[in-house]
């Protein structure tokens, strides 16, 4: 499988496309913008967007949906039944999606926002605004932030360390790095692993 990454300068947001090496049906995460560069990247890889996964129904994650739907007849998955007037498949907590060749696990984090869902495909995690490298997503209060920290501890940092994490904003990271260095864990005084411990083999990310 191949991962195509697109950064939108207007939105400060990341869009990801996952598709087969030789082209074919692909899924797209967070259509914040569908501009010429992204379209060229999709077409040059021979992809056809069949499924759209939305991590959060905020404008910078979905603004490009109207344009995308003019080009591709794609199914949309989100935590809302409608986004920008388009019908969506409602993602429920713990859902496992079988989208063509893609087996995608969906995890919801109501502690962060009611409409947040992250998607895990093999060892790639598309976490939207939930995590950005070194930090947790921003909530509205110290209480909500503490709730989120606990939720992340139980249902995110407990995953296997070889996961590559692709946030909705900013650079990629790894779960191992976030377990060791994310400020939400450090500020909570949580026990961190020995950074000198040997690293297991990690699969490469296809260009």
């Amino acid at each position: 499988m191949k991962l195509v990454f697109h950064y939108s300068v207007e939105n400060f947001s990341n869009t990801y496309v996952v598709g087969p090496d030789g082209g074919g049906d692909a899924l797209l995460i967070d259509p914040g913008v569908l501009d010429v560069r992204l379209l060229e990247a999709i077409e040059s890889n021979g992809f056809t967007i069949r499924w759209v996964l939305i991590t959060r129904c905020q404008p910078n994650h979905v603004r490009g949906l109207r344009t995308l739907k003019k080009v591709y007849d794609a199914e949309i998955y989100s935590r809302q039944t409608q986004v920008l007037g388009f019908e969506c498949q409602l993602v429920k907590p713990g859902t496992h999606l079988q989208l063509g060749p893609f087996k995608v696990d969906c995890l919801c984090y109501p502690e962060f926002s009611h409409d947040t869902v992250i998607y895990k495909y093999e060892n790639w995690v598309f976490c939207g605004d939930l995590i950005s490298a070194g930090k947790a997503g921003k909530t509205g209060s110290a209480y909500a932030q503490a709730n989120l920290a606990q939720a992340l501890e139980r249902r995110f940092f407990s995953w296997q360390e070889d996961l590559l994490v692709f946030p909705g904003e900013g650079p990629p990271t790894t779960l191992r790095s976030e377990k060791l260095f994310n400020l939400v864990r450090r500020s909570a005084g949580l026990e961190v692993l020995d950074p000198a411990a040997p690293i297991g083999s990690l699969p490469a990310m296809e260009p």
């Binding site: 991962l3 990454f5 070194g134 930090k135 900013g170 650079p171 990629p172 790095s177 400020l183």
Partner: protein
């Protein structure tokens, strides 16, 4: 993975996994790295002048006596970097992260540090002269890393 004394100038790497690698006395001038992972790597006496690191992760790495002068380091994850005697001068570090880093005698002279994040970092003898640090984050570290 370990490289010692190699000349790798001008190469391009896309989507590569270099995690846990060792780079010693390596010349990487003019190289292009895109969507690569270098987490927990070590760089000693490496020349990385005018390199391009776009959306890469170098988290948890150690760096000693390296030269990144004139590089494009956009949206790079340098979180928890331990760097000493290292030059980032004349580089573009837009939206790059040094969250929780320990930087000792590191130079960011004449850099673009717009939206660069140094949250929770420990800075000693770090030079930001003539740099644009508009919207950069310098939240005081709650504790200095030992």
């Amino acid at each position: 993975m370990a490289w010692k004394g190699e000349d790798l100038r001008g190469r391009s790497f896309d989507g590569c996994n270099f995690m846990g690698s060792q780079w010693e006395d390596v010349n990487l001038d003019g190289c292009h790295f895109r969507h690569c992972f270098f987490d927990f790597s070590t760089f000693r006496r490496c020349s990385l002048r005018q390199t391009s690191f776009l959306f890469c992760s170098v988290s948890g790495s150690k760096m000693e006596d390296c030269d990144w002068t004139g590089s494009d380091l956009l949206h790079v994850n340098f979180n928890a970097l331990e760097a000493t005697q290292t030059q980032f001068s004349e580089s573009d570090l837009y939206f790059t992260r040094f969250v929780g880093s320990k930087l000792d005698h590191v130079a960011f002279i004449d850099c673009n540090l717009k939206k660069t994040q140094f949250t929770g970092s420990w800075l000693q003898e770090v030079n930001f002269k003539a740099s644009n640090y508009e919207e950069a984050e310098f939240d005081t570290a709650p504790e200095a890393r030992p």
